[in-house]
């Protein structure tokens, strides 16, 4: 058995090296502290680059940072090793990408969620507030109690942007709706604390909420479970999480980091990569809400029509969703 595995893996390596022979690029990705299996943001990127690997047969270098100092170290190392494209993940890597991109002016760099202006950096930003607006509408329309909840991960501006969009969407659908907001914690462990997520959710249910939106990475798992146990509704985040608890998961606010990561590598491979800011909102299908067989029965035709109308209005500019980053406050 072992021998067979060895042969098989050797054959696979051989195969990969054959298919990856001609004029291939060397891509690399630096995951952030959450790790590539965080069931959320980093994992989305991982899925995207894995898809790239599967389709093209091109292997990529990867690194998961464990402390502040390693971000710059890892990105510089990737550049030094001759990576054609270095993809940084998360706003925390912005400064490191900016610095190393300055040191390697001929290198190509990309960063997801980070705002970096440089000719050889492609900064990919998502309009999370637009997607959150739509799921906020759905929550308010579905709620029987007129109270909806929001559970954030770590209390940082990015998560407040989710919460602010959600609040606006809920108020848009029902101006008298009450929105309860809680953050899970103040340390990075808040991204992966399902127990606390569940407790916060139960607390929100006790205050009358019957739909809860989690923007909290791995913590969301606890939020969804609590909603299922209580027979209430929950809304997923980042990837389509509708399948986790059909009947409980009302919808998911999708943020297509996987597509962004995949496209970054693909463009670099095809020579169509460009620096600059890429902003992905509803219009670009970078964010959105998920409707599939798992939640079809929960969303009425009337709700769907209203949300789709709002989506078109946001794209057309008829509805302006305030961005928390715009002045660092939520104008309501």
């Amino acid at each position: 058995m072992k021998h067979f595995l060895k042969t098989a893996s050797a054959a696979a390596v051989l195969l990969a090296s054959f298919s990856a022979s001609a004029a291939d690029i060397k891509p690399s990705v630096v995951f952030d502290m959450g790790g590539k299996f965080d069931k959320s943001f980093n994992e989305g990127v991982y899925n995207g680059v894995e898809k790239f690997k599967k389709e093209t047969g091109i292997k990529y270098r990867e690194f998961e940072v464990t402390n502040e100092a390693q971000r710059e170290q890892a990105i510089r190392r990737m550049a030094k090793r001759g990576s054609d494209i270095v993809l940084g993940i998360g706003f925390a890597q912005s400064d490191a990408v900016k610095k190393v991109a300055g040191e390697y002016p001929n290198g190509q760099f990309a960063i997801i969620d980070g705002f970096v202006i440089a000719p050889n950096v492609n900064a990919i930003l998502f309009k999370e507030h637009e997607g959150s607006f739509l799921v906020g509408m759905i929550a308010a329309m579905k709620s029987k109690t007129g109270t909806v909840g929001f559970v954030g991960g770590m209390d940082i501006p990015l998560i407040r942007r989710f919460g602010c969009g959600y609040l606006q969407g809920a108020k848009h659908a029902n101006s008298s709706v009450k929105v309860i907001q809680n953050m899970t914690g103040t340390t990075p462990s808040a991204w992966n604390d399902p127990g606390r997520g569940g407790e916060l959710t139960k607390g929100q249910f006790a205050q009358g909420a019957d739909v809860v939106f989690a923007a909290a990475g791995g913590t969301g798992v606890g939020v969804y479970q609590a909603a299922k146990d209580a027979g209430k509704f929950a809304i997923g985040v980042d990837s389509n999480q509708n399948h986790l608890h059909p009947g409980t998961m009302l919808t998911s606010m999708i943020k297509r980091v996987d597509v962004a990561a995949y496209n970054t590598f693909m463009n670099a491979k095809n020579g169509t990569w460009k620096g600059g800011i890429t902003s992905l909102g509803l219009a670009e299908d970078g964010v959105g809400w998920a409707l599939d067989k798992h939640n079809r029965s929960l969303i009425s035709a009337d709700m769907e029509n209203k949300v789709e109308a709002a989506r078109k209005d946001i794209i057309a500019g008829k509805i302006k969703v305030h961005d928390y980053m715009d002045g660092n406050k939520c104008n309501m």
Binding site: G35, E62, F63, E64, T66, N67, E68, A69, Q70, Q73, A74, R77, F91, A92, S94, D95, D113, G114, F115, M154, D155, I156, P157, L158, R160, T186, T187, P188, M325, D326, G327, N328
Partner: protein
């Protein structure tokens, strides 16, 4: 040891050979695990050693980690000497960094670096010390256990920092909860810059001149513990509090002094990180150093010299581990943490596991030699 003919181990074996044996055992077990996941253990050790000590960039990162570990290791050690378990190094380092950050945000352009540096040393030390002083007061005068209070204060520190960074000190209009970057003239020189003054070129790493301050702190703490009245009092309280009281020592005051120094030392991590490396205030710069300091102090037997060696070892493990994760795709960062954990397990928790065997071998080898004279001091130390 119970049986009477067994000779006590000489000091060089107790503090020199036994730790080395423990590390070798830990590496052997790590090697087995690496072998089990299908990588070459010998290759892994080579990558780790080369990555940590083989070239200028690796050495720079190793010594940079060492700097932080020295501060937190010393912080834990001084508390240990007083019989206190300070688990709050994490929070004290965090608040120490806040002190440096506030100092630089206010004065980075107003004052030259040679005035700023002592000010920032003071700020980081005082902020860290103040954060330790509250649990110390609660322990000394109210009897609240310091293990509980210091660990609680870690959470309070992180909550306070998040509040300040997200709402107050953030540079407006950006995603990251970070302050503005301090003026260039207030940055501590990186070692690559120091070497450049002498015409030598080395790779740029986070290693900066704070490492000299760390070494100075080791010497100063050694002098404090073993050469001053207060140091004697802290050890007296740590060894036997009633006896210390009988000898005229005020344990409450001693606890306050020891924890004040402990918090200050942990606060210097903030000096290294904020003034030396990042040049702005940000979140989680202290992540993990406070807790690793406990292992460092244990392994260094609470002696400043031992702590330098243990810090160096942990620096090697951190930097070498990162290289390992980089070079061997199968070895994930969780695997690296496992290796670090094994080293802590064998040289911290199981530190005396190998002593009976070593002692047996030593007794066979040294059967017909007289008892070495320095063995008495070794016994006293243990």
């Amino acid at each position: 040891m119970s049986s009477s003919p067994v000779k006590p181990l000489p000091r060089w074996i107790d503090v020199g050979l036994v730790p080395v044996i423990n590390i070798v055992i830990a590496l052997l077990v790590s090697g087995l695990i690496i072998f089990a996941i299908g990588e070459n253990p010998w290759e892994a050790v080579k990558i780790m050693a080369y990555g940590a000590l083989g070239f200028d960039e690796g050495i720079g990162y190793t010594l940079y980690y060492m700097t932080n570990f020295i501060f937190t290791g010393l912080a834990v050690a001084i508390a240990f000497h007083t019989g206190l378990f300070n688990i709050g190094g994490e929070g004290q380092a965090y608040i120490g960094g806040l002190g440096v950050g506030l100092c630089l945000l206010a004065l980075d352009t107003a004052l030259p670096i040679w005035i700023l540096l002592p000010l920032c040393i003071l700020a980081s030390g005082l902020f860290g010390a103040a954060w330790a002083a509250v649990p110390a007061y609660l322990q000394a005068y109210r009897g609240s256990h310091i293990v509980i209070t210091t660990i609680m204060f870690n959470f309070i520190a992180s909550a306070l920092m998040v509040y300040l960074m997200v709402n107050v000190l953030i540079k407006p209009g950006q995603m990251s909860p970070q302050s503005v970057t301090f003026a260039e003239q207030s940055h501590l020189p990186f070692m690559s810059e120091v070497f450049a003054w002498f015409g030598m070129e080395i790779a740029q790493t986070p290693l900066n001149v704070t490492v000299f301050w760390a070494i100075f702190c080791c010497i100063a703490l050694w002098a404090f513990i073993w050469r001053t009245k207060w140091g004697f009092e802290t050890r007296a309280v740590g060894h036997n509090e009633p006896a210390a009281v009988y000898g005229g020592v005020d344990p409450k005051r001693t606890i306050m002094i020891a924890m004040f120094i402990s918090g200050g030392l942990a606060g210097f991590v903030g000096l290294n990180e904020i003034m030396g490396v990042h040049h702005k205030l940000l979140l989680n710069f202290q992540f993990g150093y406070g807790f690793t300091g406990i292992a460092v102090a244990l392994m260094g037997r609470n002696h400043p010299f031992g702590i330098v060696l243990a810090s160096l070892l942990f620096g090697i493990l951190y930097q070498g581990g990162a290289e390992l994760a980089f070079e061997m795709p199968k070895i994930t960062r969780e695997m690296v943490v496992t290796i670090q954990g094994l080293v802590i397990l064998f040289s911290g928790a199981l530190a005396y596991m190998s002593v009976p065997w070593v002692s047996k071998v030593y007794n066979i080898l040294a059967a017909d030699k007289p008892v070495p004279s320095d063995s008495i001091s070794a016994e006293g130390e243990a």
